[in-house]
């Protein structure tokens, strides 16, 4: 359990930022552009604001029983067996998340960067890295997030500045043409990848923080910063590549970085963009993986999760080759079924838990 793990508020903020950016930066400009066309950046802003509400919901759940993790909270509020059943749903969610994130990265590597290397090689390499991180513990992960944060910021700022000369403002027009429904649909896709998976943060929030004061603020600031990065990237990819090209490209932000051309000298720096993703995806994958391992450990009532990291890692690595049989399945799943799935787990279930939990708390205090 996380009893003796303590991370500071600043580390938590940075972790939240990385989690929010995670895979979102990789795929979301394309999803947003498919629905909201040239208004994708508006949809991103709408999703960003909705994301704040969702974070507030998680914060209120965390505040109910600050000493408990998600699994303990479920068992306390729903009773032993039903609680275990619901925790199993969360564990499955994080398991699927971990496998799919690994597949995302490996698929990106084989299709865009190193086409002749088999996908398994990337999965093994990246999974080894992620599970080594999880094995070393949350403290190590959050400290490495602290170290990588300036590098991420430098890469992000540099690539954004280099892209500014390429902006063509007429690609953004007409600004208010797209109606409200496609915008909401796109915003749902945004919160589905960026905000709703954060429900798993309840596994460490707020019980693993060294001070509870300011935790909610840190949570908010982290998601705000991450959201700003995503809005910027969406804006750039719409204004440079155009809505049509962004929606048809699987990795628009990578295609975006290929456009960088300063005086015919600074060119083909797209691997900078990929470097940013390696960092954010690393944290997102380890966050999901931690969810799986810690969830299983607490479900069976064991104290220390570390011995189970590597066996779970083998299962996740194997399943990352299975969950998406092909890319067409992946696109279909992500654009249709994933959204109601994540809304059920990240929004409806927590809302229900909040209601039950607060009733329980009131009854026991009386």
């Amino acid at each position: 359990m996380t009893n003796n793990v303590k991370i500071s508020i600043r580390q938590f903020t940075i972790l939240m930022m990385f989690y929010t950016i995670g895979t979102t930066i990789l795929v979301i400009p394309s999803t947003l552009a498919a629905d909201a066309k040239q208004n994708a950046w508006i949809a991103a802003i709408v999703g960003w604001l909705l994301g704040l509400l969702i974070v507030y919901l998680y914060f209120s759940i965390g505040k109910l029983y600050p000493q408990m993790t998600l699994i303990g909270f479920l068992e306390h509020t729903l009773g032993k067996w039903f609680g275990k059943l619901v925790s199993l749903i969360f564990i499955t969610f994080s398991f699927l998340g971990a496998s799919t994130v690994l597949f995302y990265l490996a698929n990106f590597m084989t299709t865009q960067v190193m086409p002749e290397t088999p996908i398994g090689a990337f999965i093994i390499l990246f999974a080894a890295l992620v599970f080594m991180g999880v094995r070393l513990g949350l403290e190590v992960l959050s400290r490495s997030a602290e170290i990588l944060f300036p590098w991420f910021l430098i890469l992000f700022v540099v690539s954004s500045i280099l892209l500014i000369p390429e902006i063509e403002i007429q690609k953004m027009k007409p600004i208010m043409e797209i109606g409200i429904k496609p915008t909401i649909k796109a915003a749902l896709a945004y919160i589905g990848t960026a905000s709703l998976p954060l429900v798993l943060i309840l596994l460490i929030f707020p019980s693993a923080l060294n001070q509870k004061k300011g935790a909610g603020k840190a949570f908010m600031i982290g998601t705000l910063l991450g959201g700003i990065c995503i809005i910027l990237i969406t804006f750039l990819s719409i204004s440079i590549l155009g809505a049509d090209f962004s929606s048809r490209n699987m990795y628009p932000s990578y295609a975006l970085a290929k456009q960088i051309n300063i005086g015919n000298f600074i060119q083909r720096v797209e691997i900078l963009m990929a470097g940013m993703w390696f960092m954010t995806i690393f944290f997102k994958a380890s966050f999901y993986a931690y969810g799986v391992v810690a969830g299983i450990t607490q479900l069976f009532g064991c104290k220390d999760y570390r011995p189970f990291v590597f066996p779970c890692g083998m299962i996740i690595a194997a399943y990352s080759l299975v969950v998406y049989p092909n890319v067409a399945y992946m696109m279909d799943f992500d654009s249709t079924v994933y959204i109601p799935y994540v809304i059920t787990i990240g929004l409806l279930l927590p809302l229900l838990l909040l209601v039950i939990g607060s009733i329980r708390k009131k009854m026991s205090s009386r």
Binding site: T92, F95, L96, K181, P182, I184, K185, L188, I296, T297, F300, G301, C302, D304, R306, P307, F308, F310, P311, C312, G313, M314, I315, A317, A318, Y319, L321, V322, V323, Y324, P325, F333, T336, V337, I339, P340, Y341, T344
Partner: protein, 75 residues
């Protein structure tokens, strides 16, 4: 390939099992060995191209109606 997987699994056992054994944590040992067995089995079957049930298919079936509803709402 299979040799590599088995070697990895035994390497994990080598580093994780002795401390558990020493501390006489029976439950942890059981959980560890079951998870490791599942992991090894899955890795081997993936490397042999044996079809493994995909949990996403289940999610797909369960949430497809909801997704259609959402699509119709937001069209």
């Amino acid at each position: 390939m299979i040799v590599g997987i088995v070697a990895t699994a035994s390497f994990f056992t080598m580093i994780e099992a002795p401390p558990l054994f020493k501390a006489k944590k029976k439950k942890e040992l059981w959980l560890f060995s079951i998870l490791l067995l599942i992991g090894t089995g899955l890795c081997i079957s993936v490397s042999l191209d044996i079809v493994i049930p995909n949990p996403l298919d289940l999610v797909y079936v369960v949430f497809k109606p909801m997704s259609r509803l959402l699509d119709n709402l937001l069209k």
